[in-house]
Subunit: 418 residues, 2 copies
């Protein structure tokens, strides 16, 4: 590892750790004041931000960056105002810090279990400038310092956004080191951040499968795995056909690029002949590509044959794999084999099938008669989210402010010994 | 890595994963029945267990194993009965599985957040056969399968204990693969277990600093770090001298080998001349070695000079480092530098100092006027504990049954789409 970059990142993290101590003792009022000032700063500096964003866009265009990435990278006045509004929404959320429970032990010790910030949160993400502001706002509100490492394509935009946020802190009681950007576009910066044991308390990767896998496998600091969603919708023998069609179509095509979109449709053999042609008709206008098992292909001549690999693929595109199954047990067996533990749905009117499915499927969110697309912090009522955890430790499913906290036990006595 | 051992461990973990699905849906009544049967089995097979333990003891003696390890390795009839009693205590605890909260969203979606087992728990520990049974009981009660990797010195004892537990499952609805022992005494077994991503959901190392460090640094599966305790007791200017002496002596000498014992004593300069000679007198009978700063040595001629390294050392022995500090701020600065985030105590009658200390010290447990020795699952009212987490993710402080669970969101609708 390049020693200069390592030392540079270490210095940022040491400062962030120190700033996190200041931030941990700020009142909600102080933190909200800082967030409101950030929102104002963004609104006041729209043209400055757009100018920096333009540099990134020109550079990205020259480098032939794919169109989807260009879309995510591009800011507009409306998008910047949207970022500022999102910061105000975070400010309006209840502050989890300081909440807790109290118990008194038989020996008279009073034990308070209280929510406290985690400390320093590292975020590794791709070329999405909105994450820079969203993640910083959520961390500040929950009393954490944040070290950001965004995609290199957005470096100019990230620089100005972080500079504006830090200026706000310079006018407050909070050290500006509470929000830091790793201003280095090589992989060394990421590698250094992943090795900051004792300085960075948790690392949250946000982005595609490759990014998340790299962080999970290489980080020496604790990681919360997010995002991989090979989600299934199972249409049961006793499904209401209207709900089935509505849910399956929505889960797949309302926004195929996101992690809570469905990738595989499982259909009970008793209803496959009725359901599949209707599903095909409903998705014809978006030209959904269907890759099916033998039984699917015999019902839908338009379907291409699915391979084993298809069932294991998160397309994030207008493609779906379809399998006709014998019963709910068969559906559960298939899902258990291929699930990434994100969101899984059954459509059924049968009580026992629903109960069987929700009990035996091991995923963050298990749906009955509703679209997998609801797995989202906002939809779950948590307010903004920092990501969707697909691991089982610490947090599972959409992560809101409370998931950026840990606890501290405060034990008060009168000279008790053991 | 030895391929045979890797494949052997993988097979154990695949079977454990499958067993965990069975175990996850067992009722509390079924799980308690299995635990009661394990307790009976242990009581009925005391002589068999002692005979196997004797093999380990002879072997350990021949290999010149240290006396403290021999003590931990040795079982007696009383200790085996104690293990059985501990299993019954776990059976008597409330089952966290299935507990949860429900909310209804504006669109009518009903979201249930329910406690579910984590899945497969791996435990890596040293030559303490009681951990074999304790850890298995806690995992079973919380619906998790467990893969055990105990110290090689206890292999015969662990084999018989696991064999007896598995026999109980053969007579129940739970697969005996729910409790597995890695029957391999090389490091390869541990390395293989640490690499079982997707099969082992969490790894909990229990033991000395070296063991925990090795697991944290090398594991590819999520780890909960436990046990390192460089704990401090700070005697404030306004401490009650009676409480101060009582707490400091108890925190250090009641059981120096455990992680919640104090390693450093910080004393306000205004009370050092009064306190330190008394502390020396009170600990004279156990020949406590005192390593102090310059001011300490000038007050206590019996003290040896402390080095920087002393303040960073968890002695786990009849040794304490002592530093005279200027005030509570100085004490907090010292603790922040050297704390392992386990347990830290202040003795004071001053309200503001107490509040300052509990707010600014970042540790799992922060004490006012009580001994650090209370950081323990039993003392906190959690029942038995699987370890004491010194990390901030997932669990912090003593971990009871609820910390061996995660959540699942069950979302029920009537055809809702987004």
């Amino acid at each position: 590892m390049d020693n200069n970059i390592y030392e540079y990142v270490k210095e940022l993290c040491v400062r962030a750790k120190s700033a996190s101590c200041d931030l941990a003792v700020q009142t909600s009022a102080e933190k909200n004041k800082a967030l409101a000032a950030i929102a104002s700063k963004l609104r006041e500096n729209v043209s400055l931000i757009l100018a920096e964003n333009e540099k990134d866009l020109s550079c990205a265009e020259a480098n032939g960056v794919p169109k989807t990435m260009m879309d995510r990278l591009r800011l507009t006045e409306q998008r910047i105002i949207g970022m500022a509004d999102a910061v105000m929404e975070v400010a309006a959320l209840a502050d989890p810090i300081g909440e807790g429970t109290v118990s008194t032990r038989p020996n008279g010790l009073k034990i308070t279990c209280q929510r406290v910030p985690i400390g320093v949160v590292g975020i590794i993400y791709e070329a999405r400038p909105n994450v820079t502001v969203d993640a910083a706002a959520l961390c500040i509100k929950s009393g954490n310092a944040v070290v950001l490492r965004g995609g290199k394509e957005a470096i100019n935009t990230n620089r100005i956004l972080v500079k504006l946020m830090r200026e706000v802190f310079e006018e407050s009681f909070i050290s500006s080191d509470a929000v830091a950007l790793i201003d280095d576009v090589t992989r060394e910066g990421t590698n250094a951040l992943m090795s900051m044991r004792g300085l960075v308390d948790v690392l949250i990767p946000r982005g595609g499968k490759g990014l998340i896998k790299a962080v999970v496998e290489n980080a020496k600091v604790p990681v919360i795995e997010t995002g991989a969603g090979n989600c299934h919708v199972y249409i049961d023998e006793r499904a209401d056909m209207f709900k089935a069609l509505r849910v399956a179509v929505n889960a797949k095509v309302s926004r195929p690029s996101v992690c809570n979109a469905a990738e595989t449709l499982l259909v009970h053999r008793a209803v496959a002949e009725e359901f599949l042609p209707k599903f095909y008709d409903e998705t014809r206008d978006v030209a959904l590509e269907i890759r099916g098992c033998e039984r699917t292909c015999s019902i839908l001549p338009q379907a291409l044959p699915a391979t084993e690999e298809d069932y294991d693929t998160e397309y994030n595109d207008y493609i779906i794999s379809v399998k006709v199954v014998d019963d709910v047990h068969d559906a559960v067996t298939h899902i258990r084999k291929y699930t990434t533990g994100h969101s899984e749905a059954i459509v059924t009117e049968d009580y026992t099938s629903a109960r069987y499915f929700t009990t035996l499927i091991d995923a963050a969110a298990v749906y009955v008669n509703a679209s997998t697309r609801f797995t989202d912090g906002g939809e779950f009522g948590f307010g903004a989210e920092i990501g969707i955890s697909t691991q089982k430790l610490h947090a599972r499913g959409p992560m809101g402010l409370s998931h950026l906290t840990t606890v501290k036990y405060i034990v008060e006595g009168n000279g008790q010994v053991r």
